[in-house]
């Protein structure tokens, strides 16, 4: 079926309106009318070919919220009218060890991304959420709690789960001292989640202003990472560090903050980072990475958000302003995530 979407056709072009072909509904598929779509840095990297040349046209968007319009005959998990979400994945092999464990993001055969991915089952390329609607297998559709601010729930599906998953995996619990490094789309969710889990949350930032902002979001303390005296005072005191810095940087000043056997988890920087072996060795410290989260834990996060009334801080835009939004994101000029009101497309 043909549907309206916003797409990039080349790395040098702005996104503009386009008609794309969605696949027809399969027996296990859910057809979703999209209400809101969050805007992730990955959208920019992909549309602008910063992660390699994508399959143009690219329709970005993997923080999707909408209502079920139609379901395939074998769908059991959803019915017409349900409030649902779609995150970064729409297919995986569902039979490897990782998929069996509910860790589809680490699928040994590679998951299918919500956009710019070759579809393993139906052929063609996936198109994301900057669109009127989307067709997704029910196993990759999430239930959104009706009680939270729905438009602000969209970023939970990428920024949210990306920070939730490592906090859970490394077992952050009440009383732990947790540092969140960097305050952006990911960092602000890290602060909210760690706080809701009962941790003593320290915002670690270069900017006093961001520190103040983090306190409004729930951070208990602020540590200015460029102040050696402050860093020294917090030396060897953290149970977990969530590093959301999205660019190449030096890990070493932060690693000394960790206690014996504790972990810094990187969720932002896929670029090279600088690491000093001695700092790991002298307190058996760990540096790890973590990628979004599995479907099961994404649902757990959404249920937690419903219970604790947690959403992202968002600025709403119309789809016609997407290119200006990209420019502002590149300058970090957003608190903390743009969300597109997809009514503007219709």
């Amino acid at each position: 079926m043909s549907t309206k979407a916003y797409a990039a056709f080349a790395a040098t072009e702005d996104l503009k309106p386009h008609i794309i072909e969605r696949r027809n509904l399969d027996a296990f598929d859910v057809f979703i009318d999209i209400d809101y779509c969050g805007v992730c840095h990955s959208d920019i990297h992909t549309a602008r070919a910063e992660w390699g040349v994508p399959n143009y046209p690219v329709v970005p968007g993997h923080e999707i919220i909408g209502r079920v319009l139609e379901v395939g005959p074998n769908v059991t998990k959803f019915k017409v009218g349900d409030l649902v979400g779609v995150g970064c994945m729409v297919e995986s092999c569902q039979h490897c060890h990782s998929c069996d464990e509910g860790l589809e993001q680490y699928c040994e055969n590679g998951f299918t991304g919500t956009y710019n991915s070759k579809r393993s089952k139906f052929g063609g390329v996936t198109y994301g959420g900057y669109s009127e609607n989307i067709v997704v297998n029910e196993d990759f559709v999430l239930t959104i709690p009706e009680n939270i601010d729905v438009k602000a729930a969209a970023p939970l599906l990428c920024a949210g789960i990306t920070t939730w998953s490592p906090l859970r995996h490394w077992n952050v619990k009440a009383g732990d001292k947790v540092g969140v490094i960097g305050l952006g789309g990911l960092g602000h969710m890290g602060v909210k989640f760690a706080k809701a889990m009962g941790a003593h949350v320290v915002m670690i930032t270069t900017s006093a202003k961001k520190g103040e902002d983090a306190k409004l979001l729930g951070a208990d303390e602020v540590l200015i990472s460029t102040d050696p005296k402050q860093m020294e005072q917090h030396n060897y005191s953290f149970d977990f560090l969530l590093n959301t810095i999205p660019v190449k940087h030096d890990l070493n000043p932060y690693l000394g903050l960790l206690k014996l056997d504790k972990t810094m988890c990187i969720v932002g920087a896929i670029e090279p980072i600088d690491l000093h072996g001695g700092i790991l060795i002298n307190k058996r410290r760990n540096v790890a990475g973590s990628l979004i989260g599995g479907i099961k834990e994404t649902q757990e996060m959404l249920d937690f958000c419903g219970k604790h009334n947690i959403v992202s801080e968002v600025e709403m835009i119309d789809i016609q302003n997407i290119n200006q939004a990209y420019e502002r994101m590149i300058k970090s000029d957003v608190k903390y995530r743009f969300v597109i009101d997809m009514k503007s497309l219709k």
Copy 2:
């Protein structure tokens, strides 16, 4: 009391004979007549001021084997004539969380090294095993099994425990695929221990010759790290990687070898290393460090060596040849550890 030792007096000087002052026997002390002392790269780094200017004169040596000559009145663990060892530590605070856990190497107040360390309890500086004898608190003295080749047991006290501790901490067990990166003093012990623990051991090296040598030590397979095709075949297949490379290097080619959630542990390189965030993120991989081992686990390792008849591969030297041995070690011209026969000093 005064005793004969080999010491360096300045970074530019060779080690030469010297008379040093040992502290007198305290109530909990053991006086050890030294039979053998292994030669560790740390000895060179310290004597030559490569890790900062040491407290000259430096008497290196922290792989010490000897017999108990005398014990203080309160000593309960050892008696005259016992075959004993001393490793890298001779004191720690013994009341912090790490010490309580038997992890004196991570003592929160800093352990006292066997040489070139300021003594916390008795004042002065510690002098190591290139010496006729040594005085050590009984809590830092190990029992050496009488059934193994005693001279070849000396390197167990540093090279041995440095590889044993991470293999145990990351729970290497029968059937695990374990890679040992680098074949030297540490790597050759890593191969022997991992094999004895029942793992499938892969020697990862740039040198086909070293690969053959590793097979003689028990490695099941050899992986030449400079061959991209071989590396690709082993991609995503390892349960643990023990990285013994002692110099700055690029971690990234090795990290792809790890399965989901698995760890590469660095025990050699205290220098900066290059690390790519994306490789950690895409399979939730870990990079960690590990420092020697605690006294309790060192004794466990020695008992295991007694049971499985494991010792190091050594080349014996007289103390008068220590400076030539240093030069050969710098060229990696030793299989795999020099041990000084301390009778040569007497």
